[in-house]
């Protein structure tokens, strides 16, 4: 069994806990170091301000030579986030480097929040509103900010409730 990846993840966790970049937090699941939960706080002075967006990172043994799979658990409205929570971010795909660690990944995602790339849209509606109707874009994002304060399970329950009422 290769433990290189696990050793690196322990170092990533150490760095994240001793010298945490502002507005992000993350830790491995207690029973599985290959599975991490993370939270990105919406950056101030952006529509995402005050949001607590949860993510899950899944590593395999090829880390850090391959990037982890990163997925938002919180519902997002962002030009580069797919409906299933997966992201379109170059450093997690063709511009990955093994020198990146968990802190670097989360910091990049945080900066993607206030600096979307409308040229590679994962959510066409969000990309269009971002380009053409900023007011409506901000309104839709603010709705996800409020959702983000709930537990992802609670969110699902609420969506089922409102679907049942409709």
């Amino acid at each position: 069994m290769s433990t290189n990846c696990r050793r690196r993840l322990i170092r990533d966790f150490k760095r994240l806990s001793t010298d945490p970049p502002g507005g992000i937090s993350g830790s491995p699941c207690p029973d599985n170091i290959m599975l991490w939960n993370a939270v990105i706080f919406g950056p101030a002075d952006t529509p995402f301000e005050d949001g607590t967006f949860k993510l899950m990172l899944t590593f395999d043994e090829s880390y850090p030579n391959k990037p982890p799979t990163v997925k938002f658990l919180s519902r997002m409205f962002h030009p580069n986030v797919y409906a299933n929570g997966e992201l379109c971010l170059d450093i997690l795909q063709n511009r990955w480097s093994p020198t990146y660690d968990v802190a670097a990944i989360l910091t990049s995602i945080q900066s993607l929040l206030h600096d979307p790339n409308p040229n590679s849209p994962a959510n066409a509606e969000a990309a269009q509103l971002y380009r053409e109707n900023m007011k409506e874009y901000v309104r839709r994002v603010r709705a996800t900010v409020e959702d983000s304060w709930l537990d992802p399970d609670e969110q699902v329950a609420m969506e089922q409730d409102s679907a049942g009422q409709a």
Partner: protein
């Protein structure tokens, strides 16, 4: 390579014990213990600047340690320098270069990786 001597056991000799050839010698070295310290020449003269010394950017283990695949630091787990001046544990870099997604690029600057003969200043 840096060498230093440590742990000299000194003993002050009493005048009555002083022999002719050591009559002006105040201390007599009973034994000494040599300690050698080595360090890769990575061009960083201030290895304490981040408290942990210089680390390999890929595995984050200090250069003086070994890559995660090896057990012993030293010549069996050497460093590798690129023409771009970046340096890594050789095993870490070769593993990355061996993946298709690396496109044979340096992990630091994405320039095509060209191994240098030795450290590039």
């Amino acid at each position: 390579m840096e060498m230093e001597e440590k742990e000299k056991d000194n003993e002050t000799t009493r005048p009555s014990n002083a022999r002719l050839e050591v009559c002006d010698q105040r201390v007599k070295i009973k034994k000494w213990h040599a300690i050698a310290q080595w360090r890769w020449d990575t061009g960083n003269n201030d290895p304490e600047d981040d408290g942990e010394g210089d680390v390999c950017g890929i595995c984050r283990v200090p250069f003086e340690g070994c890559c995660p695949s090896c057990k012993m630091p030293g010549d069996d787990c050497p460093l590798i320098w690129g023409e771009c001046t970046h340096v890594f544990h050789m095993h870490c870099l070769l593993q990355w270069i061996g993946t298709a997604s690396s496109k044979q690029q340096c992990p630091m600057d994405r320039r095509p990786w060209v191994t240098a003969e030795r450290k590039v200043d």
